[in-house]
């Protein structure tokens, strides 16, 4: 069994739309760049974890190998909703931790194009009602028994928080989007890099109130990769390579435990709270020690509640937290300095690797204009409905 596991190399493509490429191309580019970043090749890898959601049955890992090197190592093709990328990293982490590998490659990729609204079914027209499925439904229920669309589900998650806590409303949710769009102007890898005023954000077309268009992440294409290495193997590498390595102080994956309301509204809170508690315990740090956080802001309403779930603010204090400016790049705990999913983009399988890329880049002091100065500890969080939560805490080399 190995002790610590480190990030040796990492890379991501700019998120956006690449109609001239396919997912294998995008993933291969990220892999080759991550390997080069770590000063290694595919021939140094003992294991590979490959994550994608929409091409989960396509043998993505093996298809990437055919582009970058077929060495016969085990491939774990993983899918875990929006936590798919984090799951790929954790799979490689576990293999190294278990001592079955010394070095491994994790990659996440998605090609979504202009997929538009996720989930929610069109209403059938000509038909004969026949009960079907686990609820004996005779017709599609989206839009009749509430919403199944992602902007709506996450709007309800945020409004549920607003019901229970003071100081949370449309303006606080909009501020999250204002911040992340602002942050993205400094990130050359972001899908969108445009600042919007609060008026523009609150006045953009409502998707599912309180989420307006500018409070929703776009669909898009992209890939990210990370090379992980055992402590023992790292110490055999050149000093300059060791200096750029970033320690994985915690790698956690949780699923959603039973809660009463979970069958009608996915509970994105409890599994995040559980993952955060496990991660802080494993890393021996608390939220007060974090220099930056990349969290799962698929919608503005989601980011706000995760301030609370990750312990970045007092319990119930997420509204005050955003109002205070704390999560802005120059604030007390910068959150989503990459621009977040809202503006950097959210090619689903790539997201949970891309946020590890972002934190790693800051801990190395290589984040350019968006650098959080002096960053030593960072947290990367993703959540996928269904549900799965992945958290990685990373620390700068001593």
């Amino acid at each position: 069994m190995n002790d610590a596991v480190w990030v040796l190399g990492t890379s991501m493509t700019r998120f956006g739309r690449y109609p001239e490429l396919d997912a294998v191309d995008l993933a291969s580019r990220a892999c080759l760049d991550a390997l080069a970043d770590g000063g290694v090749t595919i021939h140094d890898m003992d294991v590979m974890g490959a994550g994608t959601l929409f091409q989960a049955q396509a043998g993505m890992g093996q298809r990437i190998q055919k582009q970058i090197g077929q060495t016969g190592i085990p491939v774990f093709n993983v899918t875990n909703a929006c936590a798919t990328g984090a799951t790929a990293i954790r799979t490689v982490y576990l293999a190294i931790k278990a001592g079955e590998a010394q070095m491994g490659l994790a990659v996440g990729v998605e090609q979504m194009g202009k997929m538009g609204l996720l989930r929610g079914g069109a209403k059938d027209e000509a038909k004969v009602y026949e009960p079907a499925g686990r609820y004996g439904a005779v017709a599609p229920i989206d839009g009749i028994l509430g919403t199944e669309t992602m902007p709506g589900v996450f709007a309800q998650a945020g409004m549920g928080y607003a019901y229970e806590n003071d100081g949370v409303g449309f303006e606080q949710f909009a501020k999250v989007a204002y911040k992340n769009h602002l942050h993205s102007t400094l990130n050359p890898l972001a899908q969108y890099r445009k600042e919007f005023s609060m008026e523009e954000i609150m006045g953009s077309p409502v998707q599912s109130y309180p989420n307006t268009l500018l409070m929703c992440c776009p669909t898009g294409d992209g890939a990210a990769a990370a090379v992980l290495v055992s402590e023992e193997r790292l110490r055999s590498l050149p000093t300059e390579v060791q200096k750029r390595a970033v320690k994985i102080s915690a790698s956690v994956l949780t699923s959603d435990p039973w809660v009463e309301s979970g069958q009608v509204q996915p509970d994105v809170n409890t599994l995040t709270r559980n993952a955060a508690a496990q991660a802080y315990e494993a890393a021996g740090v608390g939220p007060e020690d974090l220099d930056l956080v990349e969290l799962h802001d698929c919608f503005a309403t989601a980011e706000l509640i995760h301030y609370d779930n990750l312990g970045l603010c007092e319990r119930g204090g997420a509204g005050d937290f955003i109002d205070s400016g704390a999560p802005f790049r120059d604030g007390r705990i910068p959150v989503n300095v990459s621009g977040g999913l809202i503006s950097k983009g959210h090619p689903i399988g790539a997201t949970g690797v891309a946020n590890v890329y972002e934190v790693t880049t800051h801990l190395r002091g290589e984040a350019g204009d968006r650098q959080v100065e002096g960053a030593k500890v960072g947290l990367a969080h993703v959540i996928g409905l269904g549900s799965a939560c992945g958290i990685h805490i990373l620390e700068k080399a001593a």
């Binding site: 009960p131 005779v138 607003a162 599912s208």
Partner: protein, 141 residues
């Protein structure tokens, strides 16, 4: 045509509930599967209880009165779904969470967290045989 074969003609129902946990008749209501061990309620069938793991279930009528715990006013939906509508998570008087629409509001923006609601049913479509689909929702009181 003999009397025997005439007796096999399918009976076309006048109305069907949109989901099987909606009970129609003179007193429409929701009916949940309830774990006999821990009381957890489920609207679909479960092989065992997601809360306690036991595998015996009874039926429980869900209370009609409710409070609006969360909502979203949906303006963008799949083609064919009328918008805007108010998607809601309500908590009934007996502590059961239900997802449905808030119905009967002249202006969806008048939905308010914490508002009192009551269970109601309404027709939401008719199939090619003339059978009406009945949905449920919650109306302001």
């Amino acid at each position: 045509m003999s009397d025997d074969t005439a007796g096999d003609a399918p009976v076309i129902p006048e109305r069907l509930p949109i989901v099987d946990y909606l009970q129609l008749g003179d007193d429409p209501h929701l009916l949940a599967n309830e774990c006999t061990n821990c009381g957890a309620r489920f609207f679909d069938r479960r092989n065992a209880c997601a809360k306690c793991g036991k595998a015996e279930f009874g039926s429980a009528r869900v209370a009609d009165d409710a409070v609006l715990k969360s909502f979203s006013i949906v303006h963008r939906a799949a083609p064919g779904i009328p918008v805007p509508y108010v998607s809601a998570i309500v908590e009934t008087g007996d502590g059961t969470s239900v997802r449905a629409n808030v119905v009967g509001l002249d202006d969806p923006m008048t939905a308010e967290l914490g508002m009192s609601l009551v269970f109601t049913t309404y027709g939401c479509g008719t199939d090619d045989n003339g059978t009406e689909c009945v949905a449920f929702g919650y109306a302001s009181v």
